[in-house]
């Protein structure tokens, strides 16, 4: 187990990257604390798999260093880093039994059969696959195959980090939930650092203590699931997390106040910066249909059972609100009230207001 430090990491798949856009990873500086459960969340193509492969050693970064505790491992191959990785599609050795699959990483490292037997039994117990130990791995169902892939990662007693690259993609929905809670439980039992890559916010938020959100090769925000939800540091995070995502409304900044559609909107606190593009961000959860707000015409109402999502047009901009109780009809003119302590300003995408008291 180890603390993992990424220092000034950059990576490009091109031989001679010139422009900033040539980099798949633009600049990553981050410390993964020992024993943490992290999720790496971002849309497809944001560089999260690249980052994962750099940590595991399958890919050498163009620039920067990776430290496991104080050791520089940047140029070490994967098998010398003592890490484990679980892939999107379950990787199992078809011709071996489940037992031999789990024993494979240990035998390759020349452990004695006593140690192998002890570790494999313990891991099988943890994953609840003891009954299958003597079956051929090729006969297993996809979720059990994925469990075996995980087991091969956990079977070494001293792995520095276990990485999961969208491991539930091919698993049936009703089993996804089970495996996810299994993972959480495993983390509590083995206390290894775990990094879980996904583009599914539910998976990220349920698994992780800390979520790292990436977009276009940069880390946009790191925080607990609650922090990400309540105070997105970037409009991308606000938009990507939550369903529906945060309302991002183009606005004008004048005399230290924000104006949307010509009306001044009270913010959570003092404006700390400005940029070429300024926007107001507010989650639909904090928009209510109450008098004294902005006037908008209802465009669409989606009843989700427990609450309804009302979409209204204020000028040319769409504003969503989550409403409990009676809903307005389509075409009706409503007043949309923003909760001031949850209304923030974003300058060029980045948060630009002080938190309210």
């Amino acid at each position: 187990m180890a603390k993992i430090t990424l220092e000034n990491l950059r990576h490009s798949y091109l031989p001679n990257p010139a422009a900033e856009d040539d980099y798949a990873l633009k600049r990553i500086d981050h410390v993964w604390e020992d024993g943490g459960a992290y999720a790496l969340l971002g849309p497809s193509g944001c560089g999260k798999s690249t980052l994962l492969n750099i940590i595991s050693g399958l890919l050498a970064p163009s620039e920067g260093r990776i430290l496991f505790d104080e050791t520089d491992v940047t140029r070490l191959p994967p098998d010398r880093r003592n890490i484990a990785q679980v892939f999107q599609f379950p990787v199992i050795y078809d011709t071996m039994t489940v037992y031999d699959n789990l024993a494979f990483p240990l035998r390759n490292r020349g452990r004695s059969e006593d140690v192998v037997a002890r570790r494999v039994t313990a891991i099988a117990e943890m994953l609840e696959v003891t009954a299958m130990l003597n079956t051929r791995a090729s006969h297993l169902s996809p979720d059990n195959k994925q469990k075996i892939s995980m087991g091969r990662g956990l079977v070494r007693e001293d792995v520095n980090v276990v990485m999961f690259d969208e491991p539930l993609t091919v698993i049936d929905p009703h089993l996804k939930w089970k495996l996810r809670s299994k993972l959480k439980e495993l983390h509590h039992r083995v206390r290894a650092t775990m990094i879980y890559v996904t583009h599914d916010q539910t998976e990220a938020l349920t698994f992780a203590d800390q979520v790292v959100v990436m977009d276009l090769g940069v880390i946009v925000q790191i925080g607990t699931p609650v922090e990400l939800f309540e105070r997105p540091a970037h409009t991308f995070v606000g938009h990507f997390i939550g369903s529906p995502g945060m309302n991002v409304l183009p606005c004008e900044v004048r005399d230290g106040a924000a104006f949307f559609n010509g009306v001044q909107v009270p913010l959570e606190g003092r404006i700390t910066g400005t940029g070429a593009r300024t926007e107001i961000g507010i989650r639909p959860e904090f928009v209510s249909l109450a008098p004294g707000g902005l006037e908008g015409r209802v465009r669409k109402v989606a009843d989700l059972g427990r609450h309804a999502v009302v979409e209204a047009m204020v000028g040319d901009t769409r504003v969503s609100a989550i409403v409990e109780g009676p809903v307005p009809a389509q075409g009706e003119v409503v007043s949309l009230a923003f909760r001031p302590d949850q209304t923030r300003l974003y300058a060029d995408g980045w948060l630009a207001t002080e938190a309210g008291r």
Partner: protein, 287 residues
Amino acid sequence: MKTVNQKAWFFVLPVLLLVAFNALVPIMTVVNYSVQETFGNNQFFWEGLGWFQQLLRSERFHAALGRQFLFTGMILAIEIPLGIVIALSMPKKGFWVPVCLVLMALPMLIPWNVVGSMWNIFTLPGIGLMGYFLNEVLGIPYDMTQQPIAAWITIIVMDVWHWTSLVVLLCYAGLVSIPDAYYQAAKIDGASPWKVFRYIQLPKMRTVLTIAVLLRFMDSFNIYTEPFTLTGGGPGNSTTLLSIDLVKIALGQFDLGPAAAMSLIYFAITLFVSWLFYTLMTRDDQR
């Protein structure tokens, strides 16, 4: 409840007719010949199993069968491992992939009797490139029209040249279908290159290898055109394989009865060995 419906038989009928005309009827003709004797004039006399007994005791047949197994065994022992090695060392992506594939496919595109003539000329001592080089430059006597060993080396090298590509292409198809994650996982698990081959590449190639072995077995066991154009079965009888011998009996000596009996035994051996290979190579799946 299962409904019983006999109508399905009508759908099988066309296939049955087709198979009857292109397989069953010709085979039955051969069966017919194999139990009779004829002296021409379309007159036939009942012979019973006489031809079969005579053939199974004949040393000429034993010798041809032995040569046939030796030939097939040797080309399988060379082509299968060689094909795997070549497929493993071919590039997986990039500019060289189509180049390699085309180069590999070339020998298979050449008509079989042309292959035989090519190698015949190529190895002739006086004028062939290889024959001249071996005899005149290196001073190694090499003449496949005189030396049985030289004739054997030539037909085996020719077959390896002609057909290893088939094994390569099949194996290559199996190899490129292995997702990258397998190799990455093996790296992380600390597997040696041998273990990667043994536990990832070989299992993933097994299906195509089964096909490759079966095709190469059947093809080489029934081979006729290339060795016939190359050596004509000589020198002496040293490269007279089963099919060459069969043609000699049937068309050279016009012994229809013994030739028919031999065809059936030949067919039975091919079928049995193919079944044996198939069963052995797919046995693992049943477990």
